[in-house]
Symmetry: C2
Subunit: 212 residues, 2 copies
Amino acid sequence: MTDRLPHPPRSGAADDTLRSDAAGNRDRILDAARALFVSRGPDVPMREIARHAGVGPATLYRRFPTKRDLVAEALADRMRACRDIAEEGLADPDPWRGFRRVIERICALHARDRGLTEAFVAGFPDALDLAAGRAETLRTIAELARRAKDSGDLRPDFVLADLILVLMANKGIQAPTPAARAAASRRFAAYVVQAFRASPDHTPLPPVAGPL
Amino acid sequence: MTDRLPHPPRSGAADDTLRSDAAGNRDRILDAARALFVSRGPDVPMREIARHAGVGPATLYRRFPTKRDLVAEALADRMRACRDIAEEGLADPDPWRGFRRVIERICALHARDRGLTEAFVAGFPDALDLAAGRAETLRTIAELARRAKDSGDLRPDFVLADLILVLMANKGIQAPTPAARAAASRRFAAYVVQAFRASPDHTPLPPVAGPL
DNA sequence: CGTTAACCGGACGCCCCCGTCCGCCTCGTT
DNA sequence: AACGAGGCGGACGGGGGCGTCCGGTTAACG
């Protein structure tokens, strides 16, 4: 109980006390995972990622015991991109233009790999990095939405859950090639922006949650 | 070549020269398939459907050699419902109101079971019944859209592919319970209607297909 | 340059799903 | 009542993904 451990219990963060080959493999695994998530969706077998990275399955599982760990690490920078997009939108002097660009850019980002959308929708509570990034992004967008409502451009009955709704819907868009999917998502985002825009005749929106 | 066959080559339609127990089993298989497609999505294993119907796997496979056959037969009435919805919309004296109702009702229908959406999006060329129903539905909606554009209520840059886009997006909507999914889809459909409505400031829409 | 501990990947066993074959059973008819 | 064609479901072999163990290998350090 009182023994001093030869290695301090590795904190959750990426341990940089990794042997050089191990670190290289780790990076290659992450690269392969990112590439495959984009090209073949988030359901690629772990095996496939390992093969593509040129390592054995054991190495992959040792470094990332569960697929969620791998996804979390692989998607960390995308999540940061989401945060940046939201903050750039908030920085726009015109709240509505900022909001609009946020919708367009986030849809485009999420059209690239759907794993990010899953992280956003489910917001899995493990993977703290992702959850934190998600929360901060949503907070920023909420503030942006408030300002856009105040300026009278965003419809007042918009709620933040509608953004999740749009991202889920965006995830459903399929196309034979990544380029086609991007184009379809772009058009979809344009429609969404139109739908969110305030309009003199505001037919009331159905409630977010169904009747209890 | 000139022999008269004891049984005429069974036409693609459901053969009614089926022994009574076989017919009963066939119906129970279809009921089980419909129920499971709704409650657990279109990816339920064939085994599960057979178990739920109280028959063995062989019986299921004998009656429906491929899963696509089963899906086609199970979804035939939903597809008919789509057709009816479209025609009722076309019958509405106000084209825009008809169009709007078609969007709402078709989204609701497709929110119930996603298998129908797959049939609509992919429009698989086997399963002739489904393909025919899909084609007729789309033709009717195209005509309705033309009228709604003429009346100035539907934005002129709407194309029929946008309906497919919306259905794909609708398919992406997830929720813990069927009721919640229905509610979310309802709200989504309302947004879509708003997006499709003609507006004085028509910011140009991104093209349907991306740059070549 | 030698030692050692960490790392590597091939191989294993498990489970689930798929599609098919075969011996028994049952409906429909004579 | 008895027959036979058609139907039935249990059982089989194949394939693929998953998560883990172990003997060989290699980086790191004295």
